[in-house]
Amino acid sequence: MGIKAKDIHEDIAWQDMTVGCEIYEPGTSELTKTGEWRSRTPVWNPDVCKQCLMCTPYCPDSSIPVKDGKRTDFDYDHCKGCGICLEVCPFKAITWKDE
């Protein structure tokens, strides 16, 4: 119970794992860099972007952060490169780049 998700890593002994791999705190998905799974990378072009914010709610991984009512650059630690943002962008402000 004392063990935190950040303390569970690939070097710990089996004795230090939690029972049944339980995790005793919320929001730990941030610790897992799912961006490593990406094979293609969406690239945001702020010059073309009209800040319509269509892309943000469509992102299944909450990887398009919004600050002061405007989207900022991708959270590449967690973007899996699904490409939904490219599809929904009405202004072609997002393009592919191969990893």
Binding site: G20, C21, Y24, P26
Partner: protein
């Protein structure tokens, strides 16, 4: 004071459940375990329990509902047999690896095919590697007593594994026998409340159950689970000691019957042990040093203890009531052979597959096995190691 009653095995299990009053019973009926939820439904209707009684659409769902309830912090139970247990297969492994101590009553029944509703251990033996603790009973008294001990073993903090309380379909589940029941308040005091440290509904402490375990974690998780099964051995004995001190009936991993000086012995499980004991008694009267080991706890398997009790025997027959189709013997034989393999004076070992799909097992049949063992001792020749007993042959 114990209460003298006469009950079927199923009613004994349902009575134990009523006394324990679990939080959740998720049920789907299948012969011969159906009476357990049937009796329990009556207790719910009569207000004798305040259990959440959920009728689901399959055994896969009944165990899944139990799993969810356990993760939420509840004590959850169910019952099944045969194809129902097979249908739970996937979820059995999830319950065990998530370390959720569901208690599952199994009225053991043959698996199809041919389709058959009678007793053997094909269903429970097929799940021997699921990570469930498995405890077997010879008669109604034992299945009741095993059930009273089940939750304490499964829920112990050093164990936290699900547990199957196994009884023999129809033979134990439906036959009515004399039984000593314990008083409700004494059972409640013995079993205690279930207060897990962490659970989904504990609002101060959000919990995630069953996360994905990639290769760098899976092996560690399995080793930890294997350790829990090893830990269960001590807990099973500790709970049995407390049970003896509280209710006066003694249990261990197995019952060693007339084994002190036995030269030939049978390793057997369940109701057949009662039949085989009569054969042992008759042989003893005739001066033959015969004995019997009735395995009660199959998971965790009591290897060291069994090796010790068999090490002075000259020939041992393992009695398998399920066909593993290994072409080399059944599961009880494989486990027993593994247990004695490093003993300095290990006995000659044979495997007898018997009693499949409710085929009767008689004192005469048991005696024929002991005669084979006597022949092995006399000639030193094991003969055919893996054979079947009780089938018609040309």
């Amino acid at each position: 004071m114990s209460i003298r009653e006469r009950l079927s095995g199923n009613e004994a299990v349902a009575t134990a459940m009523r006394q324990i009053n679990p939080d959740v019973f998720a049920m789907f009926p299948i012969t011969p375990s159906t009476e357990i939820p049937q009796y329990f439904a009556q207790y719910v209707a009569d207000g004798k329990v305040d259990t959440e009684f959920i009728c689901v659409e399959s055994e896969h769902s009944s165990l899944s509902a139990c799993l969810g309830a356990e993760a939420a912090g509840c004590r959850a139970v169910t019952a099944t047999s045969s194809a129902g247990l097979s249908y739970m297969n996937e979820v059995l492994y999830v319950a065990a690896s998530s370390r959720l101590p569901v208690v599952l009553a199994v009225a053991c029944r043959a698996l199809t095919g041919p389709i058959n509703i009678n007793h053997d251990y094909s269903d429970s033996m097929a799940e021997r590697d699921s990570g469930f603790i498995q405890i077997y009973a010879e008669n109604n008294q034992e299945v009741y007593d095993n059930y009273l001990m089940a939750h304490r073993i499964a829920e112990h903090e050093s164990v936290r594994l699900p547990l199957m309380v196994c009884e023999d379909g129809f033979i134990t589940s439906h036959a009515i026998e004399n039984i000593e029941l314990e008083e409700d308040d004494k059972v409640k005091a013995f079993v205690g409340e279930y207060n897990p440290e962490n659970y989904l509904l504990k609002k101060e402490n959000p919990l995630a159950v069953g996360p994905y375990g990639i290769s760098p974690y899976y092996m560690e998780a399995r080793v930890a689970q294997a350790q829990a099964m090893k830990n269960a051995k001590k807990v099973i004995l500790d709970v049995a000691d407390d049970f003896y001190n509280t209710f006066g009936r003694r249990y261990s991993f197995f019952e060693a019957y007339k084994m002190e000086d036995a030269e030939i012995a049978m390793v057997i499980m369940g109701s057949s042990a009662g039949t085989a004991k009569v054969a042992v008694d008759k042989l003893r009267e005739a001066g033959v040093k015969a004995g019997l080991v009735k395995i009660r706890v199959f998971r965790p398997f009591p290897s060291e203890e069994l090796c010790e009790v068999l090490s002075n025997c000259k020939a041992v027959a393992c009695m398998d009531k399920s066909e593993g189709f290994s072409a080399a013997g059944g599961p009880l034989f494989a486990e027993t052979a593994g247990a004695v393999i490093n003993a300095a004076n290990r006995p000659k070992l044979i495997d007898i597959i018997y009693g499949l799909g409710g085929r009767d097992f008689t004192v005469y049949a048991a005696n024929s096995v002991f005669e084979r063992l006597q022949e092995i001792v006399k000639t030193g020749d094991v003969g055919e190691v893996y054979t079947h007993l009780g089938q018609r042959e040309r």
